[in-house]
Symmetry: C2
Subunit: 367 residues, 2 copies
Amino acid sequence: MPDERKRFECDSLKRFAKAVFEKKGLSPDKAADVAEVMLAADGLGIESHGIQRIGMYMTGMKIGRIKPMAEITVVKETPVSALLDNNDGMGQPAAIKAMKMAIDKARKTGVGIVTVRNSNHFGIGGYYSMMAAKEGLFGCSMTNSEAMVVPTFGRHPMLGTNPIAVTMPASPTYFHFDVSTSVVPAGKIEVYARNKKPLPDGWAVDPDGKVTNDPQVFLDIRKNKTDGGLLPLGGYGMETSGHKGYAFSMIVELMTAVFSGGNTSNHVREVANVDKCCHMFQAIDYGIFGDRKAIEDHFSKYMDEIRQSPKAAGQTRICCQGDIEAEVAKRIEADGIPIHDTVLAEFESIGRELGIDSKSILAEKKR
Amino acid sequence: MPDERKRFECDSLKRFAKAVFEKKGLSPDKAADVAEVMLAADGLGIESHGIQRIGMYMTGMKIGRIKPMAEITVVKETPVSALLDNNDGMGQPAAIKAMKMAIDKARKTGVGIVTVRNSNHFGIGGYYSMMAAKEGLFGCSMTNSEAMVVPTFGRHPMLGTNPIAVTMPASPTYFHFDVSTSVVPAGKIEVYARNKKPLPDGWAVDPDGKVTNDPQVFLDIRKNKTDGGLLPLGGYGMETSGHKGYAFSMIVELMTAVFSGGNTSNHVREVANVDKCCHMFQAIDYGIFGDRKAIEDHFSKYMDEIRQSPKAAGQTRICCQGDIEAEVAKRIEADGIPIHDTVLAEFESIGRELGIDSKSILAEKKR
């Protein structure tokens, strides 16, 4: 089925998003940060975290979960670290500030680690790890989130999907990944539900903690806030090592919520109008270990050996982390960002409410 | 089937191991390091990495893979980091030196990261992360290793089993895990082969890169050095997110081999008499983010919430990382370390060769 959606200039969408968030009370800089991270997601084809999320953020502000005027406080700082309190502000400006601080510290000392507490959804973690890589540094970001993952042998969601993003300079493209530590993110199950496809084993458990293949069961769990949820990477129990995904997810809780003194995922969004998730940002200047160029070349050579290595039967390609992302980004840059008509209608309605003429701002991509 | 093996005092086994490595040319300190890490594995019930491995290390020295007299060189050092060259020495003394340096740096600056290249098998990674935790720090260790894991959609082993170990102070026991980034380590398949049990899906691929359930296929691959091998955590392809395990495994290659300028796993042990694997050790003084005691208490409380959370149908217990390890360690401390008669005979023979009377050193545990 060809994609019949209209396609727009990225910059015009960014201008619209920035205008919306300024009207909601964010400073121009912070509004620009939010727009930038949202459109970066669209630029990578990660629409779930792109500009279509604007409505969800508006709701977050309406119910008081997001405080648009909140200031970011530096609670504690050392030459290699900082702890920020986002005081319930939007996640993106705090995350950008935190990664900028981590980058600055890494330049001066070799390493920077900055944690953030009392925050909100920060968009795609990969944006921040990429910020470091664009400065010639190793970058890593983590965030916890509303609990929807059960621990191994549990049935109550105690962990967020807790993504880890890492980016490292290399040729011809950055080494880059941004993945949840659950076997899949919630959005993937929603797609299966829409397509009425049964879930593979090891993705989700029902309210009794038993593996379910019915995507609707997961949607009902989310709607009714019952037990059940996603499984950690590795699936159910220990046979295929679900306990390892559980351990990696705990590392995210440790480095985000525990190091920052903020909410672990089981307390994030306990009530609808309070989020208070936590993030962690790390930058490393790998020049502390040797010649920077030699290190990048070494990694690029290894990745090329992997790409060129023999393929499994029936497979024609082995990718390194970031290969697909780079191709998708290139295609979307050429084609423009696709927006569904229903989302356009929502933009119009939001614009009307705020006195912004979305139609005059949004520019269709000329092809 | 009850375990009928004789059980020995840990200290007596440690004395024997130390004597063996001293005779082979290691300094008394280094021989003590090797003995210490080996017996720590036995103390946790990880026999594959315990004193029974002594014969394998002896072989490694005989064929020249391990150079017992090698010195550890500090190649580069900053206040937050160091790069060591192990010059083909035993892994354990270099790993202990590296983690000690990381701990010292973390005490002074908040963070210490030390990489090691041109090394050999270092035993259990968890020993080193625990070193940091015993000093009240967050500890992490990683190592790459001989390639036996295929990348997603590949059939040629390009990655090691690449374990990650993390330890963090908490009550009542340390948060602690030490897991390979492959779905299982090779040793687990050997156990299935011995018991003639079919492998679960998603553990290993045959020489064509297709999923195999026959443990013997994997053993043949290892023996004949053909294509095929273990799958990354998450299993085959992308449906159950094998690409995530592949990404985490790449992080280990990056932080060990690439940062240190050493061999990536596909070049480790390319010939039998050269290993040259690489390690990474990290310590963080989380006091840089807030009150240390408050951070530990916060983590302990969260882990307790997880332990107490509702269990999946048919399950009676949810563990946190380190719970089982602490129980096993306690039991082995009380009962002594079990050694198979065939291993005892090997010790006798090694002792005879080196002029060490194993029987007079080894003391059976009095119960």
